[in-house]
């Protein structure tokens, strides 16, 4: 019976949409209008600038935090790098624990949540607005972000809830409450509630609408224009089947295909870069010159920096707190080991995959520059760089790849859809954890959230990119505001764990099993 109710709700929804299909385009416009006007205030708040500058405070907030953690933990991203690899390989895993979630599995699942459209579409947005220089700041933010990820994932495991039936729930909401109580600091519960609210919004925004939106953009790019809500309804139906209907087979197939797509994507990018090997030096020249001069982009080098930092944070989610939810279920006696493993996430996501996308866009000459000055030309509105064929977002990446390898846009369309789908599944889980933290565990509560989640897939596919991307960024960054306050308060606890573990590792008390 409980299964019938959501099916009926969805059936009604489909009927309403089908009945209105005659005025399809106007549905898109209506959804877009309502959406943009109702979220505008939230976006302005999160992206307001430091007084008297054009620098959004939220970008400063993330970068300062990542820098603080990098310094506080003594450049942990490089110190623990080798150990992180050994942990993922399973060198330190007790064979008697076989059958439990391994470090590799936790990392792979967390990665399939973060490697997604941020790496394909998000980077194209950053390069399109901020120029090649944005790549430099993106890589820097990725490297610094490793320290933020380390901090939050260690805390995620340390303060998770373990239930009598053997399942676990973890994430910022738990370390904010339990960790703050342990340190005798007030306000933990309040921050946990704020985080949960933002996490739900982030799940519906960046983890859902942005994905649906860009998947639709890619589909129209391949098959020609058609109304966005159609993609939305189809996607919503599949997501519904998986998260409500419990069709695990679909999720399992995606989980297996996504890493393969990731390898194909990076491999193809490498091939294109090697095909243009004579331009590699030039491309890096553009990246460095653009990083400090802007090469004529809107906002100059600060514009490049903001775009780079924004896209890095959106793509690898370091400091946002989502990874702490994903990593918290690993089976380990030492919470800090999961922190080490999670270090690799921003590295793979941002420093490797995002950089590949950026290099392909730059090297294939998608951005149009003025031969006389070497500066990039802006489009008529002056907001972004003029590109070959006036593309932006995922269409720009697609154009860049297709200019070298003709049919790649079909493979990319498939990759985009799969990445979008796996990211949606991951974020539906993050959102659900926040939802059950607020409203309590239970089938009814879970179902409510899952149905809402599916409805937002349709909205995301129908709305235009601008308002969706603004809202997605704003919601995800709002999570970081709360989460990072928590990380500052709790970082001495991580330091204690780190010192204890590191000394036992050096003394040989923690041994390899292989």
């Amino acid at each position: 019976m409980t299964r019938l109710v959501p099916t009926a709700v969805l059936a009604v929804f489909f009927t309403v949409f089908a009945a209105l299909s005659a005025s399809a385009q106007s549905i898109d416009e209506t959804i877009n209008g309502i959406f943009a006007s109702s979220t505008g205030w939230f976006v302005s708040l999160i992206f307001s600038n430091f007084p008297g500058t054009s620098f959004p405070w939220i970008v400063g907030w993330l970068v300062v935090a990542a820098t603080v953690f990098t310094v506080y933990f003594g450049v942990i991203q490089f110190r623990a790098f080798g150990h992180a690899i050994a942990l993922v390989k399973g060198d330190y895993s007790d064979p008697n624990d076989a059958g439990e979630v391994s470090h590799f599995q936790a990392l792979a699942t967390a990665l399939s949540g973060t490697v997604g459209l941020g790496n394909i579409a998000g980077v194209a947005v950053a390069i399109g607005i901020g120029g090649p220089g944005a790549t430099f700041w993106m890589i820097l933010a990725g490297l610094l972000g490793m320290a933020s990820k380390f901090t939050e994932c260690t805390l995620g495991v340390k303060y998770r809830n373990e239930y009598a039936n053997g399942t676990v729930s973890g994430g910022p909401m738990y370390y904010l409450t339990k960790g703050f109580a342990e340190r005798g600091v007030g306000g933990g519960r309040f921050l946990a509630i704020m985080f949960s609210i933002f996490c739900i919004l982030g799940a519906l925004g960046g983890g859902n609408m942005f994905q649906a939106n860009q998947a639709h953009a890619q589909l129209t790019n391949v098959f020609g224009e058609y109304p966005g809500w159609i993609t939305g309804v189809v996607f919503a139906g599949i997501v519904f089947a998986v998260i409500v209907g419990g069709l695990k087979s679909i999720a399992r197939v995606t989980e297996k295909v996504v890493p393969i797509m990731g390898v194909i994507y990076v491999g193809t990018a490498l091939i294109i870069i090697l095909m243009n090997y004579d331009k590699i030096g030039w491309a890096f020249g553009q990246i460095f010159a653009g990083a400090f001069t802007g090469l004529g982009v809107a906002g100059g080098f600060v514009g490049a920096l903001i775009q780079g930092f924004k896209r890095a944070a959106f793509s690898n989610e370091a400091g946002v707190g989502s990874a702490a939810i994903a990593h918290s279920a690993v089976r380990t006696k030492e919470p800090i080991t999961e922190g080490f493993v999670s270090l690799l996430e921003p590295l793979i996501d941002t420093v490797v995959v995002c950089t590949m996308t950026a290099l392909v866009i730059i090297i294939t000459g998608q951005l149009i520059s003025d031969p006389a000055t070497g500066n990039y030309l802006l489009n008529e509105a002056g907001t972004a760089i003029k590109t070959v064929g006036d593309t932006s977002g995922v269409a720009l990446t697609s154009a860049a790849f297709s200019s070298s390898i003709g049919g790649f846009k079909y493979i990319l369309a498939l990759a985009v859809i799969l990445f979008a789908f796996s990211t949606m599944i991951s974020w539906s889980y993050y959102g659900l954890k926040a939802w059950t933290y607020l409203f309590g565990e239970g089938k009814g509560q879970e179902l409510t959230f899952k149905v809402i989640f599916c409805l937002f897939v349709i909205i995301g596919a129908a709305a235009s990119l601008g308002p969706v991307i603004d809202f997605s960024d704003a919601a995800i960054f709002a999570m970081a505001v709360v989460n990072i306050i928590g990380l500052y308060v709790l970082m001495p606890i991580v330091k204690r764990e780190l010192n204890s573990y590191w000394s036992r590792l050096k003394s040989g008390e923690i041994k390899k099993f292989t």
Partner: protein, 144 residues
């Protein structure tokens, strides 16, 4: 030194034949039996977030079920026949895990069954019996 037989057991008919064979030899030679049940598992497979969350609970259930349904009935019948018997339930790659157990427990012989069903998957990935013939650390008997 008395003989110690490691028997790979999954509850199938061939596994039962292999176990019967091992029990008869152990009775004749005054040896002991170590029954090993391996649950196929790779630490490099991909799981969804829900599967990760429930993994520990699932594992506990799986171990519990294997112990109750497979191992406990065997233990009592074989012990009643007067042969010393131990059991182990492990996770991992079947052939590799059987070899690891044999080495660690100082087994002198291994016994496994084969179903003789050379399907496509065993052609591509190899069968447990096929792998053991090549890598077994002690003499290995394959019971048809």
């Amino acid at each position: 030194m008395s003989e110690k037989f490691v028997v790979g057991y999954d509850g199938s008919d061939v596994a039962k034949r292999a176990l019967d064979f091992a029990v008869s030899r152990a009775t004749a030679q005054g040896g002991s039996i170590l029954i090993v049940h391996v649950l196929e598992w790779s630490p490099y497979s991909f799981l969804t977030p829900e599967e990760i969350e429930e993994r520990h609970a699932r594992r506990t259930e799986e171990l519990d079920r294997a112990e109750k349904a497979l191992m406990a009935p065997l233990k009592s019948t074989i012990a009643a026949a007067g042969v010393p018997v131990e059991t182990q339930i492990k996770y991992g790659h079947v052939a590799k895990t059987l070899c690891d157990v044999a080495k660690k427990e100082g087994a002198t012989q291994m016994v496994i069954g084969r179903d003789g069903d050379g399907g496509l998957s065993s052609r591509v990935f190899g069968s447990v019996a096929g792998s053991l013939v090549q890598v077994a650390p002690v003499p290995c008997t394959i019971v048809p």
